[in-house]
Symmetry: D4
Subunit: 149 residues, 8 copies
């Protein structure tokens, strides 16, 4: 486990606000040399704290208005193969196994309810080993933040 | 809704691989001038496609090994106030209302099961209006990708 | 209970195909005088078999693309008042009490998922006596026919 | 999507009250010529707003006193074939796929509970691919209106 | 606990076939004197084996065609008072507490579904302390025998 | 359907109190001749109102202290054969199909919990077509009356 | 966390077989001096590995034939006080909070089903804050071992 | 069933406090000779009241921080073979059949959530006959006592 000191946390806070903030600006805000700031960030990457930088994309802005959760019940003997089949689908963002029943939690982004229906019928329901799929659709988003610290 | 052309998609793909990729490198890879590339990215931000850039942080690397889903059942009359109370808690990343029952789906990151128990008892259970909380803990992560396109 | 003879059934079949079919055309198709046909239809109305004639409206054609079922759980002591409150809402087409739990089954037509979310939050959840609402959204319609005979 | 203006809505309201109202009467009530009124109605049909005119039949008046909802659980791989088999049964009015579990919602009209039992045993339970059927019977009807606008 | 010997069992078998079989006939069939047979039966009553003799009444023959099971969920603090309230209703034949949830299992006989709806709304739902009632209606009776031995 | 007049009801009430009450005593209590009383009772039997007379046996008095409800889930295609298999078991008193899920409700009387466990494992679980059995045990009996009128 | 070496594990194995095994016998079996063996055991106690020694009592041998699991649902705001109330009852062996719903898992030992019913009605149901209790009774014990290593 | 007198109970109480208490000390505390005390204890063992003496081991102290309950649903026809397969796994402490559904209740001790995930995927899910596994993890222990008397 990586121990983060105060400086690490400040850097992460700055990067959370703007992941493309130039090193010079970061260095200035935390009273460090540019070289020192760059080293710190590189260390955070080497220690696995930062895995990569990404742009946050607003799915509604690009026409994906239907955010769906799939709770996919699986015969216990088929868990691994179903998890692999699901992971290959690009419409699916995450696949998790949670405590509770033997089911895989997945999150998919669709253009609308009709797109979702087609996706279920042509890509999910035919996967062998799936015994049930509980589908729910997002009605309202109250919070999505990613400030973990 | 924003219509993305092929160039937009290529830029987003590159930024997904490395959100801090310099403009010069992006411009070169898509055969555009630096100014053109910068303008494209700025437009993606102005149209709301890219909301911001963030570093992806590995929660396990910083000692948050317990990823928990909370399915929080609420008396229908209290939905809004409970959603607000939950959104204020910094341990909680997302709060959604889905179809299905009147319950708020939340995602929390905790150091371990013991931390989770304390969090539930001191911060979640006392919130007025909550009638039940179904807690599940992540056992295995098969996929987490964020390439939406 | 009204006993329907063969002639009644033929008339109802014709009206099911086109509820505005002129008497003359009906009379001709069933080998009856116009007066006889009109009398038959009037009798079907008097005996309560036909309650009224309506146009079938395609909800999607007028922009109501989200068809929702609400399974509304109610404290048993509040059943009647909740049923009345629901019946007053014009977005709700039907309100039924079924066997199973003490819940009212309702069917609502909404423009889209966002409209549904607002409707739930402002018109359904605040109704006193409701303890839970299970919401589901139609994904695909395989059959809707109204030929009862 | 069809945009309805005030005149369209008034015409639909009148037809909802009496689907066989003569053109002359409609024309008079909305201050339009007969030709104009007829044109409007024809347009509503051409644009798909009105699909057809039907008589509303009171199922109890013709001896069908038992209105049943069937929630038919299906192995995900058999969804399409079961939906087709169900749609062929004339006792079944509607077949829908909703969010929630992989189950088809159907509505059937039966003479009485005994008729329902026979129908289930001889026509529904033998359909291959069905894993469970949850049957509920209507106890009370609080509202059935079809004024969609 | 009462130990039944072979003679006791034969007597009970005969009475199960015809509860009004005269002592003389019973005595003859089991090779006992009338006095002996009567004594045996009296002993079965005194030891509490036979509590009383009743006629079995066919509920359908007298127009009670709807046999309903009520699974009545109760706040744990109200169990006793609800059980008493239910026991006073003459439409209810049996009231049991089973393992599983805090709910009272009751069996009621009704003329038809409509009678059941009225009974629920006027006599069951208003009872204070009841939080839910799950109603099911008998569709088919495969066996009802009362030969306990 | 048999219409019962006041006299019929009085006779049934008397027989409910004591199913072996002599005709003479019944006749006297309802101010009728012996012949008249006997005729009345015979008619009640001929019309199917009274199916037979039985002694009520106290299961606890004969050592059957464990009264169990079995809710037996069945693949819909196997309903009839499972119902037959269950009906053949003498430990099972009643087998019903109810609305709700495809499951058979059965009632069994057992000496104790251990007897129940053996019965389930050797006689119920091996029946082909059964997919689940929900077992509950009676904890308290608040009412068992059989006065149907 | 205590690291156990091979010797520690051997000692624990021996004590698992017989918790009153004399030091001399343990010492001999693991080729250690008596003083060494005693020291080892004392260290296991000091480090908290062994908390105490107990006799395993066969509940059936002392007439407690009914082993019950209680799944006690609680309003989230009352969790702590209900947990305390339950912990004070001597009939209850364990009280746990698990993931899943807000409910306390408890294990109780009772003489028989009747004792359990009385215990529930007089000691559990009256506890304020409890909203439901799901009771199950052990039917068969396939394994109870405590060899943790 | 073994009847315990006051002396038996006192001895069990003392042994519950310290299962390795020397005979001499027990004898002194209950005013009995050493021989008498030893005889009493031997009788408790012979009658099956005490089955053996064990050390209570603190699972957390030895690094097993994750205590899991598994509710293992089984096809009724496979109950016995699954129960045997589970009983052979040394990570599983107890295997019970309870009333309720056809499922085996098991208790397992794991080092952490990750260990649990591996255990489920490699040792539990592959067992043939298992149809579902509901996993819950202990969040807080309020009471674990073993004083049965």
């Amino acid at each position: 486990m990586a121990e983060l000191d105060e400086l690490d946390k400040k850097i992460l806070d700055l990067l959370m606000k703007d992941g493309r903030m130039p090193i010079a600006q970061i260095a200035q805000q935390i009273d460090l040399s540019r070289v020192g700031a760059r080293e710190r960030i590189n260390k955070l990457k080497k220690r696995g704290v930062i895995t990569k930088f990404i742009p946050l994309i607003d799915n509604i802005a690009i026409g994906y208005t239907c955010s769906a959760f799939l709770d996919i019940e699986v015969g216990p003997q088929s868990l691994e193969t179903v998890a692999e089949d699901l992971s290959k689908l690009e419409e699916i963002m995450v696949v998790y196994l949670m405590t509770g029943n033997v089911s895989l939690h997945a999150h998919a982004l669709m253009r609308d309810n009709k797109h979702l229906a087609e996706f279920l019928r042509t890509k999910i329901y035919p996967i062998p080993g799936i015994t049930n799929v509980n589908v729910s659709v997002m009605l309202k988003r109250y919070k999505t933040e990613l400030n973990l610290l």
